[in-house]
């Protein structure tokens, strides 16, 4: 059980000893289409790790699988040595994985501070008491999930009742944690550079600010690992540079490990310490920026001189 803020020392110790994120032969198939093909990925703690590859290489799919939006067909995912594949999306978030989206997805009709507060959700007390355990109606099959959830139903109902009671009565502990959350979020907004816009609706922000808000919201979950899906997409060079600075600060000042997808090579080569290259769902290369830049397979994947090498591209397709 890794409810992150409760036992930070434990994870930090584990982190020093292990890799932050490790996937082993991670495979994802969609009705005959192989989106990820036995991908082994290792992200070290405190790294800024890049994930690149041509369009349709399976980068975003990898993010979706790691964060629980898709269940992998096979393979395992570990965070700090603990299996997280098979967990529900909110459980993975609580375990310490957070993300942003390629096409910005904010809660448009909520204001800026509320958007960030949603990320802070699990850090706010339910009521005056702590509750152990949680409902886990999770299975391959929906009907089965419901059956499996049955034994925990009374506890889930009690939990729900407490949540409602806590919301209405607002005992001191709820207020305290709520206030702490608001303060934390305010600070995060300052961190990403959105001071003064707290009360604006997310929909009314400029594109760049929306990206920043998404970052703040992702950081609000206290992640150990942050997945950034094309954080500089659609930005001019100046904006892009400031985001790069922000990503560095996230790692340096907050100590959050970052795995990022990026198309702009200048960004990737400038900010990442290690880079993994995917093509047609397979890992074709991994190494430092310098190593990647000289890698023949990578060049071929990007430039598409496929005929000469043969097998490389055609095989995973079938």
């Amino acid at each position: 059980m890794a409810t992150s803020p409760a036992e930070p020392t434990l994870r930090d110790e584990a982190a020093t000893a292990m890799t932050r994120l490790r996937t082993r032969s991670l495979t994802m198939r969609f009705e005959g289409l192989v989106a990820l093909d036995a991908v082994d990925l290792e992200v070290r703690p405190g790294a800024i790790h890049g994930l690149i590859g041509p369009n349709g290489a399976g980068k975003t799919t990898l993010f979706n699988v790691v964060t629980g939006y898709h269940r992998p067909t096979s393979g395992t995912i570990e965070l700090d040595g603990r299996r997280i594949d098979g967990l529900l999306r909110h459980e993975i978030a609580e375990a310490g994985v957070s993300r942003t989206f390629q096409n910005i997805r904010l809660f448009g009709a909520m204001n800026v501070i509320e958007n960030v507060l949603v990320g802070r959700h699990s850090k706010i007390a339910v009521a005056g008491v702590e509750l152990a355990g949680r409902m886990r109606p999770h299975s391959d099959h929906r009907a089965l999930a419901a059956v499996r959830a049955l034994p925990s139903a009374p506890r889930a109902m009690l939990h729900g009742l407490l949540e409602v009671a806590g919301a209405i009565a607002q005992p001191p502990r709820v207020r305290q944690t709520e206030r702490a959350a608001i303060e934390h979020c305010a600070e995060l907004l300052q961190f990403v550079g959105l001071v003064g816009r707290e009360h604006e609706l997310a929909n009314n922000l400029s594109y760049g600010d929306q990206r920043r808000l998404e970052l703040a919201r992702a950081l609000a979950t206290d992640p150990a690992l942050l997945l950034l899906d094309e954080p500089t997409a659609g930005m001019n060079p100046a904006e892009s540079a400031s985001v790069v600075r922000l990503v560095r600060r996230i790692r340096d000042e907050l100590g959050v490990t970052v795995l990022l997808i990026e198309h702009a090579m200048s960004v990737v080569m400038g900010v990442c310490e290690r880079i993994t290259v995917l093509d047609y769902g397979r890992k074709i290369a991994e190494g430092t920026p310098a190593e990647i830049q000289g890698n023949a397979a990578v060049i071929e994947a990007y430039l598409g001189t496929s005929a000469a090498q043969g097998g490389g591209r055609a095989a995973p397709r079938a």
């Binding site: 978030a93 959700h121 729900g160």
Partner: protein
């Protein structure tokens, strides 16, 4: 590299410590000012406007124009305000389009009726109305969860049609499970609320009880909305997938939305049964669901004053159209309008009141598609020293 990692983890620890305790924050220059402003905001949690509305609402029975006909309609409006508050959670906050809200209304009304009506064929238990409140709230929320479970994976209009189906199923069950519900004959002579000899029967008393109940419910619903639960609901409404990715247990909060809406809807049913002392399945048709949804949308989704206004318009207006005052008012136009006897309009309007009702829905939507009280105010505001 190793060094870098250790450094980062140290900083991470420090950051976490600060976040939990908030001690480091006190050093911020703007912090003190923010605290002051927050205290001021908390003092005005009960804005004067609310008190004013409450006083005006409570004083209505003393107004000379408000006679028992008005009060009777206001009580019916009050019941629909309660229903609207319930559905507002489901549709307005959590964004779950529910076209079968009548199921919960019926659940509440029949739970009390079965447990108290002398005509009840089974389970008659002389249950006191006031004691029935927790029973009905509990039964309502359980039914809400049970009906919510199978529709969890559904979105948008698929959800709408399935909930509509549930509403119809519940009504048909009420009709056909005669051994429990007495079928189409319904359950009658349901006892009125009684408390230590005081019987809730007089219209003005009913009205006051409903005003107070609505205020308590509105307060409770407002609190829910302003809590992390309310934010979770809104996040689900805005983007369910992202909400889950931010640590919100979407299953739990969707079920909570159904349960809360259902409990409040069931309470509305309890009031209905206690007030009319008679329930039969023909009071629990799809039309009720449609009416409540229209109230919520016309008033402005997610807005509590909107619910009140919506109920006044949609429930009150068709009744008021057949009041004698309406005819008299219309006959005042006689000198202005040529070639027509406006005094006859009253009766025509009364018999065409549902046409008026329908056209009004179209007109209100055309003029204010967001509802009358559009775009509800965000809940969390951050007082700032800079004071934008």
């Amino acid at each position: 590299m190793r060094e870098l990692q250790e450094g980062a983890d140290r900083r991470l620890r420090a950051w976490r410590g600060r976040a939990a305790g908030g001690a480091a924050l006190a050093a911020q220059p703007w912090h003190a000012a923010r605290e002051r402003l927050r205290a001021a905001e908390e003092r005005t949690r009960l804005p004067i406007a609310n008190v004013l509305v409450l006083v005006v609402a409570l004083s209505l029975p003393f107004w000379p124009v408000i006679d028992s006909r008005w009060l009777r309609i206001l009580v019916l409006v009050g019941i629909f305000v309660v229903l609207g508050l319930g559905l507002n959670i489901v549709v307005g906050y959590a964004g779950l389009l529910d076209l079968g809200f009548v199921a919960f209304f019926a659940t509440g009304a029949y739970t009390y009726a079965i447990l108290s009506s002398p005509a009840s064929p089974a389970l008659q238990a002389d249950l006191n109305w006031w004691l029935a409140i927790p029973v009905v709230l509990a039964v309502g929320s359980v039914v809400g969860v049970l009906l919510g479970l199978p529709v969890l994976p559904l979105r948008g209009d698929y959800l709408a049609i399935v909930t509509l189906g549930f509403g119809e199923i519940v009504r048909i069950l009420l009709l056909n499970v005669v051994g429990l519900t007495n079928g189409a004959q319904g359950l009658f002579n349901i006892p009125r609320p009684e408390f230590a000899g005081w019987v809730l029967e007089a219209l003005d008393h009913w009205y006051w009880v409903l005003v107070l109940a609505s205020f308590i419910l509105a307060f409770a619903v407002g609190r829910m909305r302003a809590s992390r639960m309310g934010r979770a609901w809104e996040a689900i409404r805005e983007d369910e997938d992202v909400a889950a990715g931010m640590g919100v247990n979407t299953v739990k909060y969707k079920l909570l939305a159904f349960a809360m809406g259902a409990a409040i809807g069931a309470f509305g049913g309890l009031v209905f049964a206690g007030f009319f002392t008679f329930v039969n399945p023909s009071s629990f048709t799809l039309l009720v669901s449609i009416n409540v949804l229209s109230i919520v949308v016309i008033g402005g989704m997610g807005s509590t004053p909107g619910v009140v206004l919506g109920a006044l318009i949609l429930i009150g207006l068709p009744e008021v159209l057949q009041f004698d005052e309406t005819s008299r008012l219309l006959s005042l136009f006689n000198p202005i309008v040529p070639f027509a006897d406006t005094s006859l309009w009253g009766r025509q309007l009364a018999s065409a009141r549902f046409i008026v009702f329908g056209l009004m829905l179209v007109a209100v939507m055309a003029l204010r598609p967001q509802g009358i009280f559009a775009a509800a105010r965000p809940q969390v505001r951050l007082p700032r020293a800079s004071g934008r």
